[in-house]
Symmetry: C2
Subunit: 343 residues, 2 copies
């Protein structure tokens, strides 16, 4: 069969383009009988509307962008991004949207973004993640007026965002380490340019202080979100002999554990380790990691939902969604309970 167009469908169904169009976009104001007839024709012919034509006429591309502003190293080694992409992708499918991916490792890529995707009306909106604290990219994007949702923490309350409850998560970690009797608690953090890392750090400190065991500043080492970074950071921590380390991602926690083991410290015997995320590295590690679980895929799904809302009502106030975290205890903090309260 030749190329199918709305025109052709209408013809075959014996109606006008307008009516056929209404059926396709299931708008009401079409007699059920007629609707059926059109639907049947569509079914038989396998007709699918031409994306560009829809986009041009309807002023909406039905394409959502996911922009990841992280280093190549991060994207490669942290399964977080895969999880996020998975969630976003799934949600896009469910809402009949297409996902476009932008990896912004290079400055060039970042600068091109506004022009390439926004001015060209390629995407209806953008989900951005791994942004820095006062990211120029975010300024550009907001002032360009494109519907925007950030996955992570943002300083500007005018921007919608989704993230795990970083504060609550860090608190859970602190409380757990205290609860198992650790007192010389250290943390290997993500870069403070990351909002999530900053939030977790502050919350971790506060929780410890609130419990009467303030965090020794010497026991805070800043790192990046990679395994190797955490490995070397931990080495600097070794002489200070901590009995617990909170790492800001599972991948980092794996690096922490490695550094400890290589140095002859046992986990959790000498040092208890808590990660963050509860992604595959947490289970695959030896010992399996106690970690703060966040629902990464759900985060992606919520981001899509929020973005879609924002596209429909650009003037509605920005919203922030924080997804609950929860403590998952595994062997890296519990000697006795090797089975853990795994879920």
């Amino acid at each position: 069969m030749g190329k199918m167009t709305l025109e052709r469908i209408a013809e075959l169904a014996g109606v006008s383009r307008s009516t056929a169009s209404r059926v396709i976009n299931d708008q009401d104001g079409v007699r059920p009988e007629i609707r059926r007839r059109v639907l049947d024709v569509i079914d038989v012919t396998g007709y699918v509307p031409h994306a560009a034509a829809r986009s041009l006429a309807g002023q909406r591309s039905r394409i959502l962008g996911l922009a990841i502003r992280a280093t190549t190293e991060q994207v490669f080694s942290d399964p977080y991004f895969a999880g996020l992409a998975q969630g976003v992708s799934q949600a896009c499918n469910d809402d009949d949207q297409t996902l476009s991916l932008f990896l912004l490792q290079s400055a060039a890529g970042r600068e091109q973004l506004p022009a390439r995707v926004l001015r060209s009306k390629l995407v209806d909106g953008l989900i951005v993640t791994a942004t820095l604290m006062d990211d120029p990219l975010l300024w550009q994007l907001t002032e360009s007026g494109i519907p925007l949702v950030v996955v992570g923490e943002v300083s500007d309350p005018g921007i919608s965002s989704v993230d795990a409850d970083n504060r609550g998560g860090a608190r859970l970690a602190a409380e757990h380490l205290l609860a198992i009797g650790r007192r010389r608690i250290a943390t290997v953090t993500g870069p403070m340019r990351s909002g999530a890392a900053a939030t977790r750090r502050v919350a971790f400190e506060r929780a410890l202080a609130a419990a009467g065991h303030p965090l020794d500043p010497q026991l805070v080492v800043e790192s990046d979100f990679t395994e190797e970074g955490a490995y070397t950071a931990t080495q600097r921590l070794l002489p200070l002999e901590p009995d617990a380390i909170f790492a800001f991602s599972d991948r980092m926690a794996v690096g922490v554990v490695r550094a400890l083991q290589v140095a002859g410290r046992s986990v959790p015997g000498d040092v208890a380790v808590v990660g963050f995320d509860d992604l595959p590295p947490a289970r695959a590690s030896t010992p399996p990691l106690t970690t703060i679980r966040q629902e990464v895929e759900q985060t992606g799904a919520h981001a899509v939902r929020l973005l879609l809302e924002r596209i429909q009502a650009p003037d509605a106030p920005a919203r922030r969604i924080e997804l609950p975290t929860r403590l998952v205890v595994r062997a890296s903090t519990s000697v006795s309970d090797l089975v853990g309260t795994d879920s």
Copy 2:
């Protein structure tokens, strides 16, 4: 400034739409002087062509699709996909194409693909990876007639494809293990439904046999491409006391090493381990992994190039590109040479 259109640019530059269009698509047949004038206007106004309009009028969307047909688990845990995406993304940027991502974990997603992206003319072509040996998805796509490039191995020679030289890589691994004196050599493979895994396995066997040390079939354990899969696979291997294990990815090799260490075997003392990929896990591992390096990002870039060619000349014969691999020796196979011949 109001919304910019070609019309408006032409007006401001004092030329016709056609001329402005020619300048934008830099076709020749425009007096340099005029071209400059138009370019200046574009520069000043920051005009960017409307993607959908171009697509509709020009019959080309300038969007390339990347479809990853892998399990969620794989996508999450194997940095290979991130690397590939990175390469594809970069190449798309360089060629002024947009990247659209499709994660095909669910059967539903896979079935939607042809309709959603092909019939709608959303993408000009598709790069597909992690396909199975005789993947129905591939049939569908080929018979739909969309320009297609597979990253990996394909049985149908009518399909263009790009991959590392799996055969050569496996051979390098075999020769290296023999060269360091190992004779009781085992391998933890990827699933045989994966073409790349099948190729590597056969090549590995042949290389060993050719050297007069045929692979003991008992020492071949099939697994998936995950760390945990490799971990349990290795446990089955332990009683057979191999002195070397070739794993089909770095991530798998990490699982192999873990299983060995947990069982009290030293690496490389008791068992030498070789991985595949040379992605971050290889360096981050303890000990760092000897591995077969493949250029993942380049693979992505080549896939884009091939796809673009195919889009321009759909009737040209299919091509296959195999990128060279090379042995990177690190501590997991060399006791003496702890520094390794790292690059």
